[in-house]
Symmetry: C2
Subunit: 339 residues, 2 copies
């Protein structure tokens, strides 16, 4: 009983099941895949695969279906990378480069993933924590209020209102703005706290409180969990391919709306620079136990990613295709991102 062929059988089962959405039996298997052996032989292999927990049969007299473990083996060892076609790559490139600002980039990336993979797309906005500061702006709004605008080098813009005790004239504000930007130039946002506190020390008494207040606002904005924003697209795809969910769409849709949990999952599973796949019950989130998540980091071209993008679909998905699409979009996204 050759070990080699057993894996071929597993691959054939996965590919067939992904395509037809129906449990696959020994006869069909030998007909559609040139295995060179008879159904009976395949049955022996299938029994072994089932023994190993890689496939299962829904009913006594139905064909076999891959288990999560089976998909895992398939993804890790059996799947052949299937690069995108040239036109596809070009389409991604042009579509992304037409974006007018960061929101647009993220939205377009989501659309691309949703369309290419046929699943739900999740795109995290570039994380504030891992971004650098491009510019800090103070805008007077009268009534002793100042609008603090933070622009990151990934193009993200955050704004906060700030109540200041004194009314500031334009000149002073301009001066402060210049100092802030000088102090912060090129630093990571997380380093800003210390930079600003040393700045405060060098300021005249009257403005010290303002500087401290601004520093607090900025660091507070960073500290908030809520600042990690994500975009969801393509839920309609779930309904399309989704009649296959045993539990129905509800738990999936509900899980997707738990943004904090979802983001936690994505962050946890995304490792260094590659594409990560989490299959079925490997996802700790309850509602996603019938789905697989494919993620990749994106961001600066020098390796360390500033955010995550991913595709979420039924465990019965086209893994090679999905992985290729996610990787491609992540790659071009990193290239297009300002900074």
């Amino acid at each position: 009983m050759s070990e080699r062929r057993r894996l071929d059988v597993l691959r054939a089962i996965v590919e067939d099941y992904v395509r037809t959405r129906e449990p696959v039996g020994s006869r069909i298997l030998t007909e559609r895949h040139k295995l060179g052996v008879s159904p009976a032989t395949v049955r022996n292999d299938m029994a072994a695969l089932e023994e190993a927990g890689l496939i299962a049969q829904p009913h006594t007299s139905a064909g076999r279906v891959p288990t999560d473990k089976g998909y895992r083996l398939f993804v890790d060892q059996l799947a052949e990378v299937r690069p995108l076609t040239v036109p596809q790559k070009r389409a991604i490139e042009t579509f992304l480069s037409e974006a007018v600002d960061l929101d647009d980039v993220v939205a377009r990336a989501g659309r691309l993933i949703a369309q290419l993979t046929g699943h739900v797309a999740v795109v995290q906005y570039p994380s504030l924590r891992r971004s650098g500061l491009r510019h800090l702006e103070l805008v007077p709004t009268g009534e002793g209020r100042v609008l603090v605008v933070v622009i990151t080098d990934t193009g993200r813009v955050e704004q906060r209102f700030l109540d200041v005790p004194v009314t500031l004239d334009d000149w002073t504000l301009g001066e402060l703005r210049a100092r802030f930007n000088a102090a912060a130039a090129g630093r990571r946002l997380t380093e800003l706290g210390s930079a600003f506190s040393s700045l405060a020390d060098s300021m005249p008494e009257e403005h010290r409180t303002l500087v401290t207040a601004v520093a607090e606002v900025v660091t507070a904005a960073l500290g908030e969990e809520s600042e990690e924003r994500i975009l969801l697209t393509g839920q309609a795809n779930l309904a399309r391919s989704g009649m296959g969910f045993e539990q129905g769409l509800r738990p999936v849709l509900e899980a997707l709306e738990e943004q904090v949990v979802l983001l936690g999952l994505l962050t946890e599973m995304t490792d260094e620079a590659g594409v990560a796949v989490s299959i079925g019950h490997e996802n700790r989130v309850a509602g996603l136990s019938e789905t697989s998540v494919v993620t990749a980091g994106y961001g600066s071209s020098d390796g360390d990613s500033v955010a995550i993008l991913s595709s979420i679909g039924p465990t019965r998905m086209d893994y090679p295709g999905t992985i290729a699409a996610v990787r491609a979009v992540a790659r071009y996204l990193s290239r297009v991102l300002p900074g």
Copy 2:
């Protein structure tokens, strides 16, 4: 045959059907609603209502179900306003006031609508066209590029990159910034074009092209359809109450993802200051023929709205409750919005 009672019967049918999700027959009707007449009499009324196209029966031997037309009559004449409870109002108020910026306000409003109504929430970001300018910012990014940041009085921030032929020093940039803001102060964004072109005339030759370029960027940003952004939340609610869709969730989810079409529908149906309801086939969008849309404008407290918020659920929805929730959120939203 009293006209009055016939409407009572319609109301009873609507209320019962909304609650139980099951076609309602004459017997049940007399048991649950004190109509003071016998089932036989109700049957006569029902026959008349069916003749008038207000109700229909799915099968020969099933109870009656309201038609779109029936819901319409119910909403227009029969529904009693049911104001929110005080705790609910207070919850809305505090939840909205905790928002840190515009994105957050919109996100929270969406959550509120989704949770209060149990349907899908759609919130349009304050429209650029109808907003005023609070501040225009020019940020140098080196390499002969300038980042143009537009901050509206509704708190929305838009940004565009602009290639400029000359490299600008900080002082010149500050000067330009001051002039722009002086020229634009307090105007509607749509009036900016003329304001800037007259500004360009008064500028020295060397900066005239830059001014024109900035003006173009700003007006271009306004002209884009894509700039009308919307937020969708609560799709999971569709799955919850959504087993009642004859055609399944797919067409609904797909329609919701056609943002341009969806926004067109909302804009079209929203009239002056009140709450508007569009029922079933009244929606021109194909996928929404089994849903009802409840919208309200929100924005400046002086009546003219700057954006739309709405709740989309099955035609079999609790109209009074949904309308009350949408109106309440729109009202508080208008109050909370900066400006």
